[in-house]
């Protein structure tokens, strides 16, 4: 990273830290949503962007993470700082099971993607049949005290959630940056580019793919825990839905798969534009259900046609970063 890039990063971080004091409640909720998608997108990017394994079922880890930490809080009143570890452990194990099934038997590409969808789908159906977690009726966490910060139970005003997800996004960014510039990052990219050539250079392809799976699913579990405590209500039908997986991966795809900034930029662009369009339609008195999905489609098509590598690589080239 050169000095200009470091300076730009520092400025961006300062802006994000100061943001809650400059913005209203609505802007803060939009910013929280952006950071949530930036974080989850970064986690997905480890698998697809770095190691080249297309997962279309990351809602699985969001959902399991959310239900595990949410369930522990709901039943025993234990805050997420304990629950998050259980969530990470369980999601990492799930990821490793899926990875083992796929990579041991040489399943890759679209077939791997189908496998990830399948796991998310039958987990969704499974959670419909767990009465202790509310079944299809949903699990509702006690609504937060909005005026006092209770860090131990992760209950508090929106600003607390904003800073929490900002911290996780920064950590994820730094972590991914470190990974990408070390042996493991080089190995993942080699596997992404050409598995045979990677193997001929002494890379145990199976082992490193499993590591990508473990890190990505474990990271995504944290997104799920955040989701549970921020939104307070969980429904299997929603949280494991494939549209949730798609939402996670759109950011990195628009921003630039395999880049560190892509997931952040993509999440910001998508959330700002789609919320902006929805707001504009409401302001004009039009009620168009599904306008957000139509918008996603249009943006995706445009980016694929004109910037097939995503928005960020084009910008980085212009700025000569």
């Amino acid at each position: 990273m050169n000095r200009r890039a470091a300076l730009a990063l520092g400025l961006l971080l300062a802006l994000l830290v100061a943001f809650p004091w400059m913005a209203g409640a609505y802007a803060l909720s939009v910013a929280t949503l952006i950071l949530y998608f930036a974080y989850a997108g970064q986690a997905w990017n480890v698998m697809m962007g770095f190691a080249g394994q297309l997962s279309l079922g990351h809602s699985l880890y969001v959902g399991v993470g959310a239900y595990v930490a949410g369930g522990i809080f709901y039943h025993w009143g234990i805050g997420p700082w304990a629950g998050v570890w259980v969530a990470i452990l369980l999601c990492t194990l799930l990821g490793l099971v899926i990875g083992f099934l796929a990579f041991r038997f040489g399943i890759s590409g679209v077939y791997f993607a189908l496998l990830t969808i399948a796991f998310a789908e039958f987990t969704r159906i499974g959670f419909d049949h767990i009465p202790a977690l509310g079944g299809p009726g949903g699990l509702f966490l006690k609504v937060a005290q909005r005026d006092t910060i209770d860090l131990a139970h992760f209950r508090g005003p929106p600003i607390m959630y904003y800073y929490a997800i900002l911290a996780f996004t920064v950590l994820a960014f730094v972590g991914c940056w470190k990974l990408l510039n070390s042996k493991v990052g080089y190995y993942w990219q080699a596997i992404r580019e050409d598995e045979d050539a990677a193997q001929a250079l002494g890379i145990n392809v199976f082992r490193w793919k499993m590591l990508a799976m473990a890190i990505s699913s474990g990271m995504t579990a944290i997104a799920g825990v955040f989701f549970a405590f921020y939104y307070n209500n969980l429904f299997p039908e929603q949280i494991f839905n494939i549209s949730r997986s798609i939402e996670i991966i759109l950011g990195p795809i628009i921003g630039g798969v395999g880049t560190l900034f892509g997931p952040i930029l993509g999440a910001a662009l998508l959330t700002l534009l789609s919320d902006g369009i929805t707001e504009a339609f409401v302001a004009m008195g039009w009620d168009v259900p599904g306008i957000k999905q139509v918008f996603y489609g249009v943006v995706l098509l445009t980016v694929i046609m004109f910037l097939p590598n995503g928005v960020w690589p084009a910008i980085a080239k212009r700025l000569r970063l």
């Binding site: 070390s182 042996k183 190995y187 580019e193 193997q199 001929a200 250079l201 145990n204």
Partner: protein, 240 residues
């Protein structure tokens, strides 16, 4: 003995690609395996490189049986290889391509970078280190294949038709590179090659394959005079 193949065989759906082939390579030598198309050269290459497991026979590398190991284990053991159809990591820079290889014996990025730069220098690719591999010409891609394999610090280097598609002057350059590697680093080399110009200039020992069998072994000078070799492979028109 660097590498020894003891009567290895391999069949594909009943077709015997390699029959009872035996050969050996001593440390620090340059060896070539030649033969017409379909003679089984690439099959032998792939058995050494861990892509295929021999149906019968053993391959001994530095006193250890290696047949049936995975390609990555073969590389860890100390055998580097190139691909006939080059396989660059297209999205990575030339330097990053070679660093992937260097990470086999280096833990840190600066260490891998140093090893990679040395390998690039040996192949005269230093000035192109920041170019994306996708932008390289074919001769440069072939050099990149070699540099990447070298960065894994092999004791034995397997070259699969690395001269194919090169112009005569480029071939001569490559020959010089391999001579230098052999002389200064003591690298043992096995090349599978169609380009006789390179084989004659480079190899100290040549094995000739025909229909999956080793029909002759010797120095290049002995081989070109061998009647069996002349009949099946080199033919009348070969100039040496």
């Amino acid at each position: 003995m660097m590498l020894e193949a003891r009567s290895i065989s391999k069949s594909f759906r009943g077709l015997r690609a390699v029959k009872d082939a035996s050969f050996e390579m001593t440390e620090g030598t340059i060896n070539a395996l030649i033969g017409p198309n379909g003679a089984g050269k690439t099959t032998i290459f792939n058995m050494i490189a861990g892509v295929y497991r021999p149906d019968a026979g053993t391959i001994v590398f530095q006193g250890r049986e290696i047949q049936g190991l995975r390609p990555d284990q073969i590389c860890v053991a100390g055998i580097g290889r190139t691909f006939q159809i080059v396989k660059p990591f297209a999205g990575l820079s030339v330097l990053d391509n070679v660093m992937v290889g260097a990470f086999l014996r280096e833990r840190t990025a600066p260490g891998a970078r140093k090893v990679a730069l040395e390998a690039l220098d040996k192949l005269h690719l230093g000035p192109k280190r920041d170019v994306p591999a996708a932008a390289l010409t074919l001769p440069d891609r072939k050099r990149l294949e070699v540099a990447r394999a070298l960065a894994t610090r092999p004791k034995l280097l397997l070259l699969d038709e690395v001269m194919a598609g090169l112009r005569p002057t480029e071939t001569d350059q490559m020959v010089e590179v391999f001579r230098a590697l052999n002389r200064s680093d003591g690298l043992t080399i096995l090349l599978i090659e169609h380009v006789m110009r390179a084989v004659m200039a480079l190899a100290q020992h040549v094995g000739v394959l025909h229909h999956g069998e080793v029909i002759a072994r010797g120095t290049p000078q002995e081989i070109v005079k061998d009647p069996a070799v002349l009949e099946c492979y080199l033919g009348e028109e070969t100039e040496v």
